[in-house]
């Protein structure tokens, strides 16, 4: 194997070089910019994590698993998993093998970084070695792998349903250019390498193809144009990459270490959020997942469109999309790259300025009787009074010394205000509640509303106080033998409230409780995949009519279980579901209260 062209250069590499240079500069600039957008602490945290061997190793593993092998996608949809990983990993291997070839055969050219890409153009095969044949075989093999992925991608583009996807994101023009460029890279590479296979050598794909072509194309005049074409589409792809969804390829490599460093989104348009926005591959998995898309509505308000509009800077749409979301967290749960749709939206809401700013600091603290266990029912439970009454009754039956701190009304927990993006106002409420809870001397705070529960867990500072959702607390009481459940002959399906399930990761305790008090069935989509009831306070702008469709879709999912009744653990879910449900909707507390004596 020797250099065929003494200068080691042909003008056709220029398009590739331009594209490559552009994309490298763009990314380098972007990385520096994003690192500057991080707060001083976050930046420190990030750099430390990079040199920490544990996180460094995790970073490498995650990059391989997520970016190249798409492990998560494999688990969710093997066909899509194969499609993505064949292209990503295959291409990666082609690049890697190209470098190995250069190092092995023309090591002096390793400084020309177009060499590994166009290796077959620049070399002439003089002697056949096993090593060369193996590499050539591998090159053809991975090219075939990539091509198979491309074929699948083309099929998916035409019939997405074959891949189990009902709806995909509509690609923009620039994405289409990137897409067609990407699709044509590999067939053109095959063509180019085929035409030069009799000079530079080839394997099982390029060799026979070369022979066939040579039967009726007797000269070498056409191989230069195909190498030009190959280089040009590469150049085009690189040039549109920063402006297309393919930006997710480099961005995800930054996102993974940032996530592993434990960074949080602090601004919807900067730092981590920016990296997440660029990491969105526009795959559209979030569209089918989004409860708002029930009845084919609000599709353009899913996270994939949020990232797109943020990249475009369409402020009107960004605000609309951010305000509409229910913040149910399902898009985040299904997202392959880990875009935190709800958090970006909350932070986006926080950017907005208000001229009326609430302040609760001057509210006199409500007297709370001293007790070991405090119970906080929250605002919404006032509209579903059975919850509070049942929780209190069950606790009394178990002999718990409990004080219902907001029996006659109290302050809101602050989460509705927080999710509206009004952090200062929310924290003003939080501090007021903290003051009251700590003054009571309680060591346990039982919370029945999942919205409040998440707020108490995430945003409150209550040293010495254990915050616990009542389902967990009841479960413990049952285990400790302080509550005795009898089983009714009803069959319940448990609806996971978003804030309790995806929000706080509590899936098992409610099911265990219901299972001990009645028969329990599961619906098609449950746990992390459960469908929001549509009543969420997360959405600021969804109208009642729009919510109706969402609720009905949520109920349809619950009906798949064929259960007699629906159990849930959230006042808002109960009020919302029972509005349209054809079967009773009960809170777990009420079910437990009925089945204990």
């Amino acid at each position: 194997m020797i250099d065929r062209i003494p200068s080691g250069f042909n003008p056709f590499v220029i398009p590739f070089l331009v594209g490559m240079g552009f994309v490298l500069l763009y990314c380098a600039f972007g990385v520096v910019r994003i690192l500057f957008q991080l707060s001083r602490e976050d930046r420190r945290k990030f750099f430390i994590s990079l040199v920490n061997p544990k996180t460094a190793l995790k970073n490498i593993r995650d990059i391989f698993c997520d970016c190249l092998f798409h492990v998560k996608l494999w688990k969710r949809n093997p066909l899509l998993g194969y499609m993505h990983s064949s292209i990503a990993f295959g291409w990666f291997m082609l690049i890697l093998l190209g470098h190995i070839e250069v190092i092995l055969f023309v090591p002096t050219r390793i400084n020309l970084f177009y060499y590994p890409i166009f290796f077959n153009f620049f070399v002439a095969e003089t002697d056949q070695t096993l090593r060369g044949a193996l590499l050539f075989f591998l090159m053809d093999f991975f090219l075939l792998v990539v091509l198979s992925g491309i074929v699948l991608a083309i099929i998916k583009r035409v019939r997405s349903r074959l891949f189990g996807m009902r709806r995909t994101a509509k690609p923009s023009v620039i994405n289409l250019i990137g897409l067609y460029a990407l699709w044509s890279i590999f067939p053109l590479r095959l063509l180019a390498e085929t035409f030069t296979a009799h000079i530079s050598g080839g394997s099982f794909l390029t060799g026979p193809a070369n022979w066939i072509f040579r039967q009726f194309l007797g000269n070498d005049l056409h191989y230069l144009p195909t190498w030009w074409a190959y280089s040009i589409v590469l150049g085009i792809f690189m040039c549109v990459l920063p402006f297309s969804r393919y930006m997710h390829i480099p961005a995800e490599m930054l996102l993974i270490p940032m996530r592993n460093a434990g960074l949080k989104i602090r601004n919807a348009r900067k730092g981590l959020a920016k990296v997440q926005v660029y990491s969105c591959p526009n795959c559209g998995v979030c569209i089918d997942a989004c409860p708002m898309s029930a009845g084919k509505e609000n599709i353009k308000d899913c996270t994939v469109y949020l990232t797109r509009q943020i990249r475009r800077g369409n402020e009107k749409r960004i605000a609309e999309i951010s305000d509409k979301c229910l913040l149910c967290g399902k898009c985040e749960a299904v997202c392959q790259v880990g875009v935190q749709g709800p958090e970006i939206r909350i932070q986006q809401r926080a950017i907005r300025e208000y001229s009326i700013n609430q302040d609760y600091s001057d509210i006199a603290a409500l007297p709370v009787r001293e007790a070991k266990v405090l119970y906080f029912s929250g605002c919404m439970s006032k509209l579903v009074p059975s919850i509070g009454r049942s929780v209190e009754s069950v606790l009394r039956k178990a002999g718990v010394d409990v004080e219902w701190m907001d029996r006659d009304g109290g302050l809101c927990c602050g989460r509705p205000m927080l999710t509206a993006g009004r952090t200062d106002e929310a924290m003003s409420m939080v501090h007021k509640n903290e003051e009251m809870i700590l003054a009571s001397g309680a060591d346990t705070l039982v919370v029945s509303c999942p919205i409040c529960y998440r707020m108490f867990k995430e945003s409150y500072n209550l040293p010495g106080v254990r915050v616990v959702h009542y389902s967990v607390y009841f479960d413990e009481l049952v285990k400790a033998g302080r509550l005795h459940l009898t089983k009714s002959d009803l069959c319940y399906v448990y609806h996971d409230p978003c804030e309790l399930g995806r929000g706080c990761g509590i899936y098992e305790e409610p099911r265990r409780l219901v299972g001990q008090a009645a028969a329990i069935a599961e619906s098609d989509k449950c746990r992390a995949e459960s469908v929001c009831c549509g009543g969420s306070l997360g959405s600021l702008s969804l109208s009642f009519r729009q919510r109706e469709k969402i609720t009905k879709a949520s109920l349809e999912n619950l009906y798949t279980s064929k259960a007699d009744a629906i159990a849930t653990a959230c006042p808002l879910c109960q009020a919302t579901l029972s509005r349209y449900s054809d079967r009773p909707v009960r809170d777990i507390a009420e079910i437990i209260d009925r089945q204990t004596n």
Binding site: S355, I356, N357, Y360, L383, C412, P416, L537, L540, S543
Partner: protein, 105 residues
């Protein structure tokens, strides 16, 4: 100005020809359901902030419709959303409150 020990007092009359409906008209665009309030008072009755401040969404909407300044009325709203839950006319009062909070200059 001569001091007589008493002064002309400001009229309490709502003069619909003179009141400034700028804010209300703005809100009619962002939150058109504000127009359908029938002043039933459910929102005020259920309001979490009411015991602390006398907050009443019914009064807020009415005051907006009459061109009155509502800024002092919203200072204790907690955005808890109960008013939205109970509204028989399905007015998104929560969004309305945020719109009000933002539309004053």
């Amino acid at each position: 100005m001569a001091d007589f020990g008493f002064k002309l007092s400001k009229s309490s009359t709502l003069d619909l020809d003179k009141v400034d409906l700028k804010v209300y008209n703005l809100l009619c665009k962002t939150d058109p359901d504000i127009k359908t309030c029938m002043a039933c008072g459910s929102c005020s009755a259920t309001c979490t902030a009411a015991p602390f401040s006398g907050m009443s969404m019914r009064k807020v909407i009415l005051a907006l419709q009459r061109g009155q300044d509502v800024r002092p009325m919203l200072g204790k709203c907690m955005l808890c959303g109960k008013c939205t839950m109970v509204c028989p006319r399905a007015i998104n009062t929560r969004h309305l409150i945020l719109s009000i909070c933002k539309c004053y200059d």
